[in-house]
C-alpha cells in the first residue's frame, strides 16, 4: 500500500538540505552555549541587516507557542490583557498557554483571521480604564493568518497608528511570515516591520528549519532583561547554536523567501485548479494554506490518497478543508491531486 501524500501542514518534513549541511559542517566546533555562540551572533547581525535596523534585539526560541507565551507573558503587567482575533492561535490552539501566564485574551469576532482598528476601538470602549476590568495593552495579530489571509502594508500601518494613539503594543505572530511577505501582489517588506511593530517573530519551523523562531523586539521598553525570560520559561537551549545556525542558513542567500515563495506558488496553483473545477473557497488566501469547500463524498474519496484536515463543518453536506503546501511540496503532487479531484468531481455529480 502506498502512503497517502499529506497536505496537513507545513512541518511534515525535516529541514532544507542546506540547513542540514550547515549543521553538519559546524558540528565539531566548540562553541559558547545558550545562544552566545558566534553563529548565533552572525545570524542576529544578518537579521538586523535584513530588517535594516541594527537596534533591534533578536532572540531565537524553539517554537511559536513558546515565542508567544514568552513575549506576552513576560512583558505585560498582571492586569494587562491581549486583544486578538477569535481565530488566533493563542486563543484556540495553544492550550491556554497565554492564560497560564496570567493574562486574559479579549477576543474579536473574525472569520478571516484578521482584525481591524475599529474592532480594537470597540474593545477599548468596553474597557474604560476601570479597575474592575482588565486593561487591554497589546494587540496580537498573525501574518499570514491562521486562515491564510494577509494584511497589506497599509492595513498594518493603520493598526500601528491606532495602537500608538492608545498606548497599546502591536505584536505579530510570524509563524508563516515568509508566506505573507512573498504572496503575490504583497507590498510589505521585512524591513517595513520594525517601524510598524513593537515585537514579532520570524518563523523558521514552518519554513524549512528543523525548529526555530526569531523573536524581534523593536520597542526598547520590551528589551530589558529579556534573556532572563527565555531562561525561566525553559527556552534558552544549551546548544543555542542549533537555532542560530539554522537562521544563518535561512537568511544567508535569501533561502527563507525562496522556500516561502515555493510554498505559495504551489498552493495558489492548487487553489486555481480547484476553483476551475467549480469549487469555492472558505477564505481568500494568497498564501500556502488554502481552504476549499467540498461535499462530504468528495472529501471521503480524496482521503483515499491524501491526508488533510477538515477545518470547519459548514452544513450537513459540506465542509471547508485545509490544504497546506510547504517548501518541500513537489509540484507533481499538486498535479496529481488536481487530477484525482477532477475524476472524483466527475463521478460525484
Amino acid at each position: 500500500m502506498s502512503k497517502r501524500y499529506s497536505f496537513k501542514n507545513d512541518y511534515s518534513e525535516g529541514a532544507h538540505h542546506q540547513i542540514l549541511n550547515l549543521l553538519e559542517s559546524t558540528n565539531y566546533e566548540q562553541l559558547e552555549g545558550y545562544g552566545l555562540d558566534s553563529y548565533s551572533e552572525r545570524a542576529r547581525m544578518l537579521l538586523q541587516q535584513e530588517l535594516e535596523d541594527d537596534s533591534v534585539d533578536i532572540h531565537f526560541v524553539s517554537g511559536g507557542t513558546q515565542a508567544n507565551l514568552i513575549v506576552l507573558g513576560s512583558t505585560l503587567r498582571p492586569h494587562h490583557s491581549i486583544v486578538a482575533a477569535q481565530t488566533a492561535h493563542i486563543n484556540v490552539h495553544e492550550a491556554g498557554a497565554i492564560e497560564l501566564t496570567g493574562h486574559k485574551i479579549n477576543s474579536i469576532f473574525s472569520t478571516d483571521g484578521k482584525i481591524t482598528p475599529e474592532q480594537i476601538l470597540q474593545v477599548l470602549d468596553f474597557h474604560p480604564n476601570d479597575e474592575h476590568m482588565v486593561k487591554p495593552k497589546i494587540v496580537f495579530i498573525s501574518n499570514s493568518t491562521e486562515l491564510g489571509t494577509i494584511y497589506t502594508k497599509h492595513e498594518l500601518q493603520e493598526l500601528s497608528k491606532l495602537c500608538n494613539e492608545h498606548g497599546l503594543y502591536l505584536y505579530l505572530d510570524g509563524a508563516r511570515l515568509g508566506t505573507a511577505l512573498t504572496a503575490n501582489g504583497q507590498d510589505l517588506k521585512m524591513s517595513d516591520l520594525t517601524s510598524i511593530l513593537d515585537a514579532f517573530y520570524i518563523g523558521g519551523t514552518k519554513n524549512g528549519a528543523l525548529l526555530g523562531e526569531a523573536i524581534v523586539i523593536t520597542n526598547p521598553e520590551l528589551k530589558e532583561d529579556f534573556r532572563y525570560f527565555l531562561k525561566q520559561r525553559g527556552a534558552l537551549l544549551a546548544k543555542g547554536r542549533l537555532l542560530g545556525i539554522q537562521f544563518l542558513g535561512l537568511f544567508e542567500d535569501g533561502l527563507y523567501y525562496k522556500l516561502a515563495r515555493h510554498a505559495n506558488e504551489l498552493a495558489q496553483k492548487l487553489a486555481q485548479g480547484i476553483k476551475d473545477l467549480g469549487y469555492s473557497m472558505f477564505s481568500d488566501s494568497p498564501t500556502n494554506q488554502i481552504f476549499p469547500i467540498f461535499p462530504d463524498q468528495v472529501i471521503d474519496q480524496l482521503w483515499n490518497d491524501y491526508d488533510f484536515y477538515v477545518w470547519t463543518r459548514l452544513d450537513n453536506n459540506k465542509s471547508a478543508v485545509r490544504l497546506v503546501t510547504s517548501w518541500a511540496t513537489p509540484e507533481k503532487c499538486i498535479n496529481e491531486f488536481l487530477q484525482s479531484l477532477k475524476k472524483i468531481t466527475r463521478t460525484s455529480r
Copy 2:
C-alpha cells in the same frame, strides 16, 4: 592564534555523527507532528524496553529546565513545595523557573549536591500539616549531581522508601544520568529507576544529542493529560521527530552509555593526573565533572590555553574550578592539559 580548548561544559559541540546521520536519512519522510510520528513512537518503545517497563509514559522535550518546570509546575497543586538541595539546578540556575510556576523550594544545606532521608525528615518536621506553611510534596534530586557526585542504588532506595512513607513524590533530574549510570563502581541500572522514582528525565543534550530530554513518568497519578502540560508550556515541538529520532539514535545500540562512559573515563583520567600532581578535589566525583582546587596563579596560567569555569572561591589564594569532559572530548586534550599543568605546577612552586 590557536583557540583555547574548552572544558566549560558538555554541550560545546553539536551531536554525535550517528545522530546527525539519522536525522539526515529520515529528513524527507512526511511524518506526523508534535511527537506522534513513527520514530518518536519507536523511541518511546525502545526506552520502555531499556527500562523493562512498558507501563511508563515517555515524553520528549527540548531541555532540562523545560523538563523540570513542566513536571514540577504541572503535577503539583498550588500549596505544594519542592524539597531540594541548596545546590540544585532548580534552586540556583533556572532563573526562578520553578517559582514562576508558583511553588516554593524548601532547600537543604548540601556541599556535595546530595541530600539524605534525615534531611528530608527535618523539612517535614518543620512543616507539620499547617496551612500557614507550604506542604512539601515532591523531593527533587539530580544524578549525577551538580557537583559530579552520584547516589548509590541503596541511597536511592532509602530516599524512595522515605518518600513513600510520607506521601512524597521522588523526582530525578537526569541531565547527566548517563554519567551516573556508567560511573566506575556504580551498581545502579537504568531499569532500577522505575521502581525507585515517580518521575525523572533522561538527558540527551549533555550526552551527544543536539537537544532533547526524555521525561519518564512511572507514577500513574502524574500521567494524566501530560501532553496538555507540554503544549501549554511551549514544549510540544511541531517537528517532534527531531527529538524522537535522536533518542532512537542514542539507545538503538547502547550509544548513550558508550558516550557517557567515554566522558567519565577521560574526566577520571584527568582527575587522577591532577591529584598525582598534588592537588586536591572540592568534591568526590566519579563522573564527567571534576572540581580540582588550584591556586590563583595556576588558574591564570591554565586560562592561556584552556577555558573553564571557576566554581567557587575558597580563600584569598585559591578556588575550586570545574572541568567538564564530554562524549566529544579527545583523549589528546586530556594529555595536553596534564602536561601544561605539570609545567605550570613546577614553575609556580
Copy 3:
C-alpha cells in the same frame, strides 16, 4: 442640598443592626484566630443544618471575587478551563482575576446571564480532548445572575446532569443567592443545592453583612487542603470571627431570607410601577436588580434625585439602566422614585 438616593447597588450601607450587635456583644471574648473560633464553628454547623448535609465543608472569605478565584484557581489543574456566560462576573468585572490564576474562560453568548446545557455541549464539542486546546472542566453559573434572572430548580438539575455526564464540575456564584431563593414563584431551596452543585458560595456582603461569603464544598475531590488555598491567597483573616459571627447572625433566625425577600419585594414593586408607566425591561428579573429601559432625557432627569448605573446603551435615544434595592432600602424611596418618574414621564412625552 439633599443627597441623592442611590439605587446603584446592594452594598451602599453597612450591616444589619442584629449583625453589628452580635459583633459588639462578643467583642472582648478571646477567640482562636483564622476561622477556628467557636462562633465560626457554630456558623458552619448552622449552615450545614440549613443545607441538611453535615458532610459539606464551609469556609468563610471576604468577598465574591476572592471566593471565585480561590475555588477556581486552586481546584483546577493548569490545562483546565472554565465555561461561563459572556456576562459572568468572572468574565467581565473581576479584572482578569481568574486568568491571573492561569485559566482560560470559555465564554458562552448570553443576554440574560444564564446558560443552557446545549450551549455547554457546544463548548465541549469544540474541545474534543485535544491537547492543543484547553480542557473545559468546570461550569460557572451565578444565581441570581448579573442580569437579575434566576434558574429554576429543574434548569439547575439539567445543568448538573450534563456536568455529571461529562466529568465537569458545576460551581455557583451566590453573591445574590438570597434573592434567587426568595424570588416570587421560585421552587429552589437552599438544601437542594448540595445535590446539584460541586461547590458554591452564599453571599453575605450583598445581603446585610459588612463583608463575608460562605464557600460551600460538596464534592469531596475539592475539599482536600482547602485552608491552604485560603491562606496562600490572603483570604484567611486573623480575626476570622468577624466572618463567622456575621453568618451566625444571618442564619440564626432566618434573617438572611428575610433581608433578601425585602430587597426582592421592593424591587418588584419598583418594576411594576415602572412598567405601569409604560416602560419595558431589558431582562426579566424577579429579584432585586431590575433593568428598565428609559429614554435619555428621562435618565437625565432621574439623575437629579437618584443615583444608578446605565447598564447598556441600546440606541441613540435610550439605554437600559440598573436599579438595585437592598435589605436596607426603605419603601418610601420606592414610592418617591415612582412619583418622580411619573412626573418626568408626563413632561417628557
Copy 4:
C-alpha cells in the same frame, strides 16, 4: 472551669470600642463602594498628614499576607526575586503566597528577624546579573520583626542607602509597625518612613482594628494602576468603608499609638518580671512579643492557666515560648501570670 488567658497573639479580641462605635454611627449612610467612599478618602488624607507627605498613595486591604502578596506579586517583573530574612513571615508563614505569584525569595540567615546591608550585598554578589539566576529586586523587612526586635532609624537609613545604590526597592511589612514606633527608646517616627521606604503597610488587624492594613506607596514607579492589582487579587472590598472607617478611628486622635504603647508596656513589664525570676530571653525584644526561655516543666504548668505558643525547641529540656500582649490585655493578667510563674519557679527548682 475558668478559661485560660491567652498570650497567643494580638488578634484574640475584636476591635477597640471607639472603632466599633464609628462603624455603628456611620452604618446607615449610603456610601460609594470599593474604597471610594468619603470616610476612606478622609482616612487616606489623615494618613498622608501623619506621614507628612501628600504625594503617597494609600490603599486599604484586609490582611498582611494579602498586602504582601499584592505589593510583591504585582510590582515585580517575572525574573525578580525578593531578599528577606529566613524568619520572615513571607518566607515561612504565608503558605507560599509569594512564590504563588511567581517569585523566589532569597533568604538570609537571621536569628533575630533582622537583616543587614552586608548580608544583602552577599546576595547581590551571588547574583551577578546572570540570566541563569533570578535578579534580586526588592528587599523585604518587617518592623517590629517576627522576633519582636526593631530597627533603629539609622539601620533603616543604611538599608535604604544600599538599596538605592543597587537599584533595589525597600519594602516594610508593618503588621506590628505600631509597636515598633512606640517602643521604648525608639527614635523612628511614622513620617521618617516615606523617605526610607518604597512601600510599606501600616497594620491595623494586630493593633485594635477588626481587620485592615494600609498599604503606603512612596515610589512613583509602584503607584500606577495599583487598584487593578487590588481588584484582581480579590482585595477590593465592596464595602471598603469598613477599612477606611477603622483607619479613621485609629488615627483621628492618636489611638493607634496609644494602643501599641499599651501592648508594649505590658509586654515589657512581663519581660522584666520574667527576667527578675531568673529566666533569659531568646530575642531582645522591646515590643509586644517576648520570647522567654523556660524549662519544659515550667511550660507544662503555665499551660494550666495560660495559652501561648512554643516558639522553638532549644534542647531536650527547654524551649523558647512566645508571649504576646495586645491593646486589649489587662494589666491584671500580667500580674497574675508573674505570680503564677513565681510559684511554679519556686516549686520546680
